[in-house]
């Protein structure tokens, strides 16, 4: 997204930390090759090409870099699963970013394309691939234009193509636009989509490391994951792992949105607390209101209540898991105390219904049922027993679906019910909201 939307944040004075992934905010024209190179760009690739591929894998392993797409799998370890067989291997960069609450890759691809290209090139070298694909969400039309231009610049400068930097490394990079489907962010659906098909997830095994794109060994990593790689290679694993917490090293981009004073992307050392992000940097809840609850890592992660214990939790994979939720894609969504939880949950679940790919019945049918039941609850037509019914329907999706999209669909409801059961019940008994602008007003017959 455009630089000017998020002005250089004042927070950098508060945090003893210099931009790495979002360096483009501090340096105008950063999307251009000469500016990128003048600021240390492609130095990481240069250093990598002076090492053996195995040494590069080891360096990334040592850095402690973990995937930023959701699950947090160690990147170097993923690369080391690629078998040393002859024939083509591929790297696919996942820039399909569509999880509600997440908007970091969008900013990176539009403003810092060379950092991503450099990361993909290094990854290709490390695993012995000669072709990397960057799958960019189709809606990022401007991002696609920007990164395609960057690829042309890099080609003209001999950074993509044959005998890169005179080191005998050959590599092509293709920018692949998606066409609007959240499911294509799921890695096996992404591969199907790259092969020109509908984005239906694949059965595993085989895993992509063994049989991925065109049934060849393939590494799939998130855009932000690979954007970290040039920094690791340029400054070294020890430098990188000096940031972050014991098990989550480095820095990452936290996406802050919803009812907060200063929404936006915040690049911070891993393990910064929620309190620092929401109140310190984000300026707290908007309109002087109070925090009702928040989603810590994109719409698929369970909501958390803002107890002191939760707010002082370091934002890393283990810290958030210990509070009963997940780091996910680091999309933090703030809900103020004037929000009716039923409406918010309906909106969250509707997303999964819309985006269900339709391949398996529990998710295709179940998400329709969930939305129908939540819809009637929201509109004051809920019946006694509905809360249990919704939970039942959710239970028939989670764990019984083909992929994680289905498992995620009931999460907003199940997590919100634990925190705000009385609000759901109130909708049934009083046919109106307990809190929010519609509180006390009859909902029956109201449409949305």
């Amino acid at each position: 997204m455009q630089e000017q939307i998020y002005p250089p944040p004042p927070y950098l004075e508060k945090v003893p930390f210099e931009y790495q992934l979002l360096k483009h905010r501090a340096i105008p024209g950063f999307a251009r090759l000469e500016v990128y190179r003048a600021n240390g760009g492609y130095k990481g690739l240069e250093r990598a090409l002076n090492m053996s591929p195995d040494e590069v894998v080891t360096e990334v392993k040592t850095s402690g870099l973990r995937g930023r797409g959701g699950a947090g799998f160690p990147a170097g370890m993923k690369w080391s699963f690629i078998p040393k067989v002859p024939g083509p291997k591929y790297v696919c960069c996942n820039t399909d970013e569509s999880e509600p609450g997440t908007f970091k890759d969008h900013e990176v691809v539009e403003n810092n394309p060379h950092q991503l290209i450099e990361g993909v090139l290094i990854t290709c070298y490390a695993i012995g691939a000669e072709h990397g694909f960057i799958y960019v969400r189709g809606e990022f039309a401007r991002g696609i234009r920007v990164i395609r231009r960057a690829v042309e610049e890099a080609k003209a400068a001999g950074l993509i193509g044959e005998n890169i930097m005179g080191k005998g490394f050959n590599c092509q990079i293709t920018i692949h636009p998606g066409a609007g489907a959240y499911i294509c962010g799921e890695e096996s659906a992404l591969l199907e989509s790259l092969e020109g098909k509908r984005g239906f997830p694949r059965l595993r095994p085989p895993f992509p490391a063994v049989a991925g794109l065109y049934a060849r060994p393939t590494v799939i990593n998130n855009c932000e994951t690979l954007s970290n790689v040039p920094h690791i290679m340029r400054e070294g694993a020890a430098w990188y792992s000096s940031f972050g917490t014991e098990k989550t090293k480095g820095f990452r981009v936290y996406c802050l949105s919803g009812h907060v004073e200063r929404p936006g992307n915040y690049e911070l050392p891993c393990g910064t607390t929620f309190r620092e992000l929401i109140y310190g940097l984000g300026g707290g809840v908007w309109k002087g209101r109070n925090l009702k609850c928040f989603i810590p890592g994109g719409s698929s992660t369970p909501m958390l209540a803002p107890t002191d214990e939760v707010l002082d939790t370091p934002m890393d994979f283990e810290g958030i898991a210990a509070r009963g939720s997940m780091q996910g894609s680091a999309g933090v969504v703030i809900l103020d105390d004037q929000t009716c939880i039923v409406g918010a949950v309906l909106r969250l679940v509707e997303f999964y219904k819309e985006e269900s790919c339709g391949k398996c019945t529990p998710c295709r049918e179940g998400t329709q049922w969930l939305v129908q039941l939540l819809h009637r609850l929201e509109h004051g037509e809920g019946r006694p027993g509905d809360l249990e019914l919704i939970q039942d329907v959710g239970g028939n999706i989670a764990g019984k679906s083909f992929c994680l999209l289905g498992d995620s669909a009931p999460v907003p409801y199940t997590s919100a019910l634990k925190l705000f059961r009385e609000e759901f019940e109130y909708h049934i008994t009083h046919k109106t909201c307990l809190v929010g602008p519609k509180a006390g007003k009859a909902l029956v017959g109201a449409h949305s």
Binding site: P100, R142, A179, S257, V333, T339
Partner: protein, 175 residues
């Protein structure tokens, strides 16, 4: 419907469009992989995916016509029918919802006298909602065709719609 079918059968890709698709095909180890970008070329030319060019894509990429159709019907961005010159898509997922996207949708419908997915009678504007656009930090947001508008207020929306009523080219295109 019949009429539309015949009309769209007759449409043909321009020479430049065909060449673009041929170039895309050469970028991939397997020609079928060029499917999504090729269909973006088609939509760029016609504003939707007409039947004739769909056959052409199948020929160029050496795949079955049905394989192209399957893709066109699966992905949200491909318009299977013509839309207005400007496709206004307002995000209504959670972060935009929390900052007033439903009010924007109401306002746009009232102002244009349209329901969702309808087009103004002069063919200028089609109104739609869309799932999270990955710009939640600048919510509420919307797209005009493929271009983003951020932090959209009611006032701003009014202005945008007024501009689009008479515009020929997308005024929100950014290099």
């Amino acid at each position: 419907m019949d009429k539309l079918e015949t009309r769209t059968q007759e449409l043909e890709l321009s020479q430049a469009g065909r060449e673009q698709i041929l170039a895309l095909k050469r970028e991939y180890p397997s020609s079928r992989s060029a499917m999504l970008p090729a269909l973006h070329v088609v939509q760029g030319e016609f504003g939707f995916i007409p039947a004739g060019p769909m056959v052409e894509v199948a020929e160029i990429l050496e795949v079955l016509q049905g394989e192209v159709e399957q893709v066109v019907t699966f992905y949200r961005m491909y318009n299977q029918l013509p839309v207005g010159r400007f496709h206004v898509k307002i995000c209504d997922s959670i972060s935009c919802y929390l900052r007033g996207s439903d009010e924007l949708l109401e306002q746009a419908q009232t102002k244009l006298g349209l329901s969702l997915n309808q087009t103004t009678s002069d063919g200028q504007i089609t109104l739609a909602k869309i799932e999270c656009l990955a710009a939640c930090g600048a919510a509420p947001c919307l797209q005009v065709n493929d271009e983003y508008l951020y932090n959209v207020t009611g006032e701003h929306l009014n202005e945008i719609l007024d501009n689009l009523k008479t515009a020929k080219e997308n005024p929100y295109y950014v290099e």
